[in-house]
Amino acid sequence: MAAPEILRNLTWAITTLFEIILFSCILRRRVYRSHPVFALYGLVVILQEASAAFAVRYLNPHSIEYFNFAWSVQAVVVCIRWLAVTEIARRVLAGYSGIWKMASHILVLASAIILAYSIAVSGARWDRLITSADRAVELCIGAFIVGMLLFARYYRLAIANLERQLATGFCLFSCFWVINNSIYQHWGSSAATLWEVLSIFSFFATLLIWISAIRNATAPQQVSYPVPISVQMYGELSKELDSRLQVLNRRLSHLLHSQDSRS
């Protein structure tokens, strides 16, 4: 057996072991109650490894059947990953109805633009369509998570450490997947082993982040979200605050323009 293949099998085995550890942590800490889709994702990645082992054992890795099987399973995994990410976003933002409505529209729109751009620049290479689409979706997931965290930071929303680290893991994995995928598209099959090893390593790092997040997670608390005020009251308060911000801004502008006219 060649050295790269041994390394690949070894990392594969270790990753599978850590996936099992992650899922057992999910069960032991009862994370499936608060994050059912993430728990499902934890289970699905284990099943993906099992299905990959099955495919390698019974199908020719260079056949079209193997290709179709592997990418079909991957499509299911990516869909569940998307759902797990939206589950986290909902847990972070949905308690704030105004922010959630606005952020969800913006994030979905931004994701759609990124998806359209990614597919458009990939060209009409049908042989690369699947990897291009896969990369586009991963880029969307990464941008969605970063956008969500930026919204939460801007509005100073409290995020539980578990949500923060799960989102970080998803985002890092997606970004590294995009980089790996681009490397693979550039160097082709000559970089296949490197691509595979890098993918496994990035997923391995993500698994470590998730396991650590779940192990350190405290029992979920009853979150007290603010009760929304009426649209009318919000409008009035917001208008007043805006007018005060404008006054301060004008004051600063006045200061600057006087200075400029003098100098």
């Binding site: 847990r91 109805s97 105004g98 922010i99 409505k101 606005m102 913006i106 990614s118 620049v121 990939s122 880029l139 990464g142 970063v146 965290l149 930026l150 939460a152 930071r153 509005y155 100073r156 929303l157 409290a158 995020i159 949500e163 970080t168 890092l172 970004c175 590294f176 995009v178 980089i179 681009s182 598209q185 608390q221 979150v223 007290s224 603010p226 009760v227 005020i229 009426s230 649209v231 009251m233 919000y234 308060l237 917001s238 605050l241 805006d242 005060r244 911000l245 404008q246 006054v247 301060l248 801004n249 004051r251 600063l252 502008s253 006045h254 200061l255 600057l256 006087s258 200075q259 003098r262």
Partner: protein, 191 residues
């Protein structure tokens, strides 16, 4: 490597960089709405600055130059610089307080206008950048004395308007039936 591929890699790296910024917990606990209303209702330090600035007009120091008291003139100019920087500091502080209030308000809003929030963000960025720019100009010795003089002329009226707006804001907020329910928002966040 083709440009689109390079762009994908750069975009992914940029996302990782943004993630590093966005995933950090904000410094300090966010203010509660009670603290914001309380702070808005108090008299702000900078409200007294018009009177201070009035005494710092350009013509106030002209006679020193004419009489050759250059050392005293430079000392007064140093003081002016310090006061001008303090003015900017308070202006910025109040701006941040208002922004904090608008963020708390956003968490209570049944719906938000993306354009309105974008305008506020843009205004905030502009304000922060202008403040930094002015601060550096002042530090480099390019003091906008005349500007401070004219500000002191208009500040009386401005301050009155601000005080009225603050009082209204405090009153309306306290009158809202739902208001107490979010007083401890941010302290009871999920952990």
């Amino acid at each position: 490597m083709s440009l689109p591929l390079l762009l994908f890699i750069l975009l992914a790296v940029f996302l990782v960089f943004l993630l590093g910024l966005a995933a950090k917990s904000p410094k300090g606990l966010p203010l509660t709405s009670e603290e914001v209303i309380d702070a808005l209702s108090q008299e702000r330090h900078y409200a007294r600055l018009p009177q201070i600035l009035q005494s710092l007009r350009e013509d106030d120091t002209d006679f020193l130059r004419r009489r050759g008291h250059l050392e005293l003139l430079s000392q007064i100019r140093g003081e002016r610089k310090r006061i001008a920087l303090r003015f900017l500091h308070y202006l910025e502080k109040e701006y941040q307080l208002l922004l904090e209030a608008s963020r708390i308000l956003a968490t209570l809003a049944p719906e938000l206008s993306a354009i309105g929030e974008y305008e506020r963000l843009k205004r905030n960025l502009r304000f922060v950048l202008l403040c930094r720019y002015l601060r550096w100009r002042l530090r480099l010795g390019l003091q906008p004395w005349n500007a401070f003089g004219s500000i002191s002329d208009m500040a009386g009226e401005m301050t009155l308007k601000l005080e009225m707006a603050t009082a209204q804001l405090g009153e309306r907020a306290l009158m809202a039936a739902d208001f107490p329910s979010f007083l401890n928002k941010g302290r009871n966040g999920p952990e």
